[in-house]
């Protein structure tokens, strides 16, 4: 077991997340007892959280390779969901296969800690290569639309999300308290908590809609309340998990809070464009995997480059 190599702060944070889940489960059970039948979706949602948190913790604790494999799997599921939702051309079947192959390759760069290749592989080589592979297919009708949509999906589901994993490849010296795993945990916890905070603030006080035509449930109250709470949480977590000074910790919280909101509404716009409510049904109570990682796809590269610029 490589458990020992994880900083105590990381292990304590993981334990605290399970603590929060226990409290959430009790609260939901209490709600369900007070008003039977009214909270089915909430019950499912908490159950799915248990599954996700358990898998995530196991992979992180087990080894770096296991964590990379889990993030590779998440990218695969997200890309598959995206490619199944968008209109595709029959002629591009094999092109899509190449796009899937980009996933293990991108995570190989992360495993090798080859930053230069990691950062250009999808935006340069896959961008050019997949477009040319489509041309080889010989069908020009709908080419630009197909090439554009494929690249957009690969950027969101693979390039952006793989930034979460690259935090594990950063040298430990940059973050003395908790290393790469500490930064990863900070990003994921703050991003997911931000989703929950914005939802709760919106449910409780939401009056004024931010973007009624894209996401009718998003309100200014939810956004401001959520982002403020996320900044507080970030300030707290940064003490144990990051090398951040106070101003940097608050800035990281702000970036994650706003970035998470942007990711959420952007994927909402995609779903609205495609005419679906949820991106899938993989995670009962949440929808599909894209519904869960939408905010992470935006916060991951933003947080990564913020940290990389100031501390590495």
């Amino acid at each position: 077991m490589i458990l020992i190599t994880l900083a105590p702060a990381v292990l304590w944070t993981l334990a605290s997340i399970f603590g929060v889940l226990v409290i959430a489960s009790l609260a939901v059970a209490w709600l369900a007892r007070r008003k039977p039948g009214g909270h089915g979706e909430l019950v499912l949602r908490v159950k799915s959280w248990w599954l996700m948190v358990s898998l995530f913790s196991l992979a992180l604790v087990f080894s770096r390779g296991a964590a990379l494999a889990l993030f590779g799997l998440i990218s695969f599921l997200a890309l598959k969901e995206y490619l199944s939702l968008i209109p595709t051309r029959r002629a591009d079947r094999r092109v899509l296969f190449w796009a899937y192959l980009a996933i293990p390759v991108q995570f190989l760069w992360v495993f090798m800690e080859w930053y230069g290749m990691f950062i250009i592989f999808v935006p340069v080589y896959m961008f050019l290569g997949l477009a040319f592979r489509m041309v080889v297919g010989g069908v020009t009708q709908g080419f630009l639309r197909a090439a554009g949509m494929l690249h957009w999906g690969l950027m969101v589901t693979l390039f952006s999300l793989s930034h979460v994993a690259y935090l594990l490849a950063l040298p430990a010296e940059g973050n003395p308290p908790a290393g790469g795993p500490g930064l990863l945990l900070f990003l994921v916890v703050a991003t997911e908590a931000n989703d929950v905070f914005q939802y709760l603030w919106g449910r409780g006080l939401g009056r004024h809609r931010v973007m009624p035509s894209v996401s009718p449930n998003k309100t200014w109250e939810g956004l401001i309340g959520g982002v403020s709470t996320t900044i507080l949480l970030a300030a707290l977590l940064s003490v144990w998990l990051t090398p951040f000074s106070w101003p940097h910790a608050l800035a990281a919280g702000l970036i994650i809070g706003l970035g998470g909101f942007c990711g959420d509404v952007t994927i909402s716009a995609v779903k609205r464009d495609l005419g679906v409510k949820d991106s899938g049904s993989l995670l009962p109570g949440h929808g599909g995997i894209l519904d869960r990682v939408d905010s992470l796809a935006f916060t991951a590269p933003l947080f990564f480059h913020f940290t990389y610029y100031f501390y590495y």
Partner: protein, 213 residues
């Protein structure tokens, strides 16, 4: 021996393939029968259709799952014939007219009498992927002989994109599976075919299916 092999094949190869590499979005799962005899009727786009439908049932029901498949195709080569009959567990069906006088559905009748769950694709062939072809009427003869047996229409979408006829490279796509309400025997074959056709066509409109041209 083959029974053990079949069980392991579905557990180790088919389930991970269908649930992780492909992935299923299912609607109305509760309409599936959890005991035989029953007839599952679905549209046909890909070899994967059979495997995806079989994965919807718990592993303990594997013994009683019997896909009905074309004898001329699946029994054409020795190795394939062994795999189709012993591992997948098909009931071979002759697509030619029954000139010998025997009932081509004999194997199906026997299976239903035993309490098995039949899986039938009345389009008769995978055909053009993601296009619904006219149903052949053998299914109506079967339903007429077993009027008490529930017939469950199922609409499949997406597997024709993952592995269409004539392709050997599997490209992952989520597949949509919409299960319909069971059809009661209406008393006549023509009415039955109309009801079945209507049921599958209306299931097809339940979801938003992306273009694929």
């Amino acid at each position: 021996m083959n029974r053990v092999l079949r069980y392991c094949f579905f557990l180790v190869v088919v389930r991970p393939l269908v649930l992780i590499v492909l992935g299923i979005n299912i609607r109305h799962r509760e309409r599936l029968p959890m005991a035989g005899p029953a007839i599952i009727v679905a549209n046909h786009n890909s070899h994967l259709d059979t495997l995806a439908l079989m994965t919807l049932f718990p592993q303990r029901l594997l013994e009683s799952l019997r896909p009905v498949a074309a004898a001329d195709y699946f029994l054409s080569r020795k190795g394939l014939a062994w795999f189709a009959t012993q591992i997948i567990g098909i009931i071979p069906l002759s697509r030619k007219l029954h000139h010998s006088g025997g009932d081509p559905l004999k194997g199906c009748h026997e299976a239903l009498d035993r309490g098995d769950i039949l899986i039938i694709f009345p389009e008769g062939s995978r055909g053009e992927p993601e296009h619904l072809a006219a149903f052949k009427t053998g299914i109506a003869h079967l339903a007429e002989r077993h009027p008490q047996t529930p017939v469950i229409p199922v609409f499949l979408h997406g597997l024709g994109k993952a592995l269409p006829k004539g392709e050997s490279l599997l490209v992952p796509f989520f597949c949509d599976i919409f299960v319909g309400a069971k059809l009661a025997w209406p008393g006549a074959r023509q009415e039955f075919m109309a009801a079945l056709d209507g049921a599958i066509r209306s299931l097809a409109t339940e979801g938003k299916l992306p273009d694929w041209e």
